[in-house]
């Protein structure tokens, strides 16, 4: 579910933050940030989750995820 945020800059979106430390490991979600645009979300993600030596970090707006099913919903196999 995507929450609607209203901050100083107006409507903001939630972004998932993904990162990995090794080439051999997949990207995993390390947290989220809330921002009104991609640029600010990138700046916030870097500032908030910079404590590890990540070799890659990426963000994606939660409302851009195509959800197949979510907790509490029936799976396609049910």
């Amino acid at each position: 579910m995507t929450h609607a945020y209203n901050r100083v800059q107006g409507a903001a979106r939630e972004y998932g933050v993904f990162a990995r430390k090794l080439r051999a490991e997949p990207l995993r979600q390390v947290g989220t940030v809330v921002a009104p645009d991609d640029d600010l979300a990138a700046a916030y993600a870097r500032a908030t989750y910079d404590e590890e030596r990540w070799i890659e970090m990426a963000i994606v707006a939660r409302d851009q995820l195509v959800t197949l099913w979510a907790p509490g919903e029936e799976t396609s196999e049910a």
Partner: protein, 238 residues
């Protein structure tokens, strides 16, 4: 002005900018902006440390002839940083215009002919990318015009006169850009035109790179820079 004097001005401005950012780490409009303010402050304090370390390899450290323990004007920072930012608009204007101006000069150093600057300053450009994204995004959301105009004014003054020594360093290839190119670079990156300004270069201070000879950082900040401020919290007799 020598190259090391220019680098000292850059280092002092980075130190003060980092300190002013950090002062907003619990006052910004959102928790994410708090963290960004703290993170950018830490970055700029780290950058100033690297820049101070470049002074000796450049041939002379101008701090040796300055009374930095007793004279606040021995810090060659801009008037914009003399006091804490009084509003979030001041923070954003500094973040967008002045931080980008400092980065433009760093890039001109990295692309210039001095090897020590080419190698040691390159990493700063990567870190500054996120300062830029932060500043530009907040700038686009709209801020008060007064601090924005003032930040532009001080950035243009900091780059110096069109025929000044920064222009000479550009002419020698030490810097890849001259004063007008640097202003254009900041404007291009921010996608904003600078206000039409007339700088009185006759009254310009060539060392502190600011208009007028007076002014300086406030006493509390000066104490903090010298490590005196925390003594207020030390145990009696320490």
């Amino acid at each position: 002005m020598s190259l090391s004097q220019l680098v000292l001005s850059l280092a002092d401005n980075k130190q003060l900018l980092g300190l002013r950012y950090a002062e907003w780490a619990t006052r910004a409009p959102s928790l994410e902006a708090d963290i960004a303010a703290a993170g950018m402050g830490l970055d700029d304090l780290g950058h100033c440390r690297v820049l101070y370390g470049c002074l000796e390899p450049l041939g002379d450290d101008p701090r040796k002839s300055l009374a930095r323990d007793s004279d606040p004007t021995a810090y060659w920072s801009l008037p914009y940083f003399d006091q804490a930012f009084p509003s979030w608009s001041h923070f954003v204007a500094a973040n967008a215009v002045l931080d980008t101006a400092f980065t433009a000069l760093i890039q001109a150093c990295v692309e210039g002919s001095q090897e020590v600057l080419q190698t040691r300053l390159r990493k700063m450009l990567m870190e500054e990318r996120y300062h830029f994204l932060h500043g530009r995004s907040w700038l686009r959301s709209g801020i008060d015009p007064e601090p924005l105009d003032e930040a532009w004014r001080q950035a243009i003054a900091w780059f110096g006169p069109p025929d000044g020594e920064l222009a000479e360093l550009h002419g020698k290839g030490v810097l890849s850009l001259g004063p007008a190119d640097l202003v254009a670079r900041v404007s291009e990156r921010l996608e904003v035109q600078p206000p039409k300004l007339r700088i009185d270069w006759k009254g310009w201070d060539p060392k502190r790179r600011r208009e007028g000879k007076g002014g300086g950082i406030d006493q509390r900040t000066f104490d903090m820079l010298r490590g005196l401020e925390e003594k207020r919290f030390a145990p009696a007799g320490a």
